[in-house]
Amino acid sequence: MNDPEPLILPTLTEGAELVGEFKGSGYRQPPQLVRLPNRQLVQLPPLLFSVAKALHDHRHLAADPHAALAEVADAVTAEANARISTEQVLFLIDRKLAPLGVTTYSNGTAPSLAKADTFLALRFRTAVFPATATWFLSGLFAWLFKPAVLLPSITMVAAAEVWLVATQPMGEALNNAIRTPTSILFVLALTVLSCVFHEIGHASACRYSGVRPGVMGCGIYVVWPAFYTDITDSYRLGRGGRLRTDLGGVYFNGIFLIALAVLYALTGYDPLLVAVVAVNLEIIQQLLPTLRFDGYYIISDLVGIPDLFKYMRPILRRTLLRRPAEERLNALKRWPQIVVTVWVLTVIPALAFQLGLIAIKVPDLILANWQRAQNLALSAQAGAGPLELLAGTLQLILLTLPLLGLALLTYWMLRWLTSKIIKIPTPQQA
């Protein structure tokens, strides 16, 4: 018969940090946060957090693990106003905390760090600026969030929008711009610059609110090129700080619009108006709460629930299948529950409707692709300049991306919905 494994007092994973309460939460019992060494945050119910905290507080007693665990159990009992035994403490450590990477196991084994399930997230990405560079960049612009600057800026954005959209010849500018490949490249460059500035806006808001932004980089969202800023640490902020961080990108788009308006007023250069249209479209797109764009995070922070997508299955089961509400749903306060239900019941049909409409456009897109490819070949034969060929090639690529995106998005949606509703195990769960 094997000897039982010797008990080793579990400890917080090296580099983990006990953050404290998730502020402005939509849960009946506010969860607590622990930051893992890999910058991910773990949300814990208060009792589990008490165990982790008591372990940390009594780490100096590691020489006598049994006595230390008794102390830990007493501390948790006092904190929770409910008696917990040392065996139960060990159960919580080995079955609940260590698998999440918060503590080591009671046999001394180090945990593997768990990863979040991130549906429709930006999976394929690479960091371009390390966190130190983001910190520097955000420091250059954080002052734009001071109230004395913020309010006049927002007023100027509104004035610039009204002047540009209501009084300037947008349609004519569009027609002129699309006839010259150099204009298209110019507008594309401004659009990319606007996206980068948008990301600096998130980072700056994060820094102004009091936490460190992470890396900035680029990636492929579904199949579209994207820039990103990692602001995972903003979970530490209160609701106001999180919302400021969410809205910082769109605010910086607004400032970019002011710059475009000033440039246009000085030069009268038509393609600048086309860039204004593109930036406005970006703002609209960002505020949509469907995919994981800024609008999604705004709703998530308004209700104080970090991952709304996790509530799709419980809400669909309760609403459509008339099943009793799951524990996850009952853990929410009343008004966040209502908001999340409305979000789920709106977003799913909206996504389906949008995908359907875009699917209807597929024949047009294929035709346009084919014509663009033919034009590109003819232009090349006719000795078109490198700028014209570059613009044509970029356009061809951009026309193809929505088709690929539509196909992939449909596939992912169907696979995810099927696995969530019917509970087919994913490869990771199998």
Partner: protein
């Protein structure tokens, strides 16, 4: 002070979760592009129909010129 005992069922029901990384992103909306009969935006695709003049220039069977704009993930159409 007397405490109530925590039962195993309560402890079993406890669970934490790893929160998803907050990665705020912006996708690129490129410039408008033009095909023979179509102008297309990425994410927002714009289609322009030039229309037809109609039978013998009388306007009979003529089609009006119109623009269509389609956004991903939003769809906005203007005619």
């Amino acid at each position: 002070m007397a405490f109530r005992d925590l039962d195993d069922e309560t402890l079993e029901a406890l669970s934490g979760e790893v929160l998803p990384a907050r990665v705020l992103m912006s996708v690129i909306i490129p410039s408008p592009v033009r095909g023979e009969r179509a102008e297309v935006f990425y994410a927002c695709q714009t289609t322009h129909y030039y229309g037809t003049p109609g039978l013998l220039g009388t306007g009979l069977l003529a089609q009006e010129a119109r623009d269509t704009t389609t956004c991903v993930p939003a769809v906005v159409q203007t005619f």
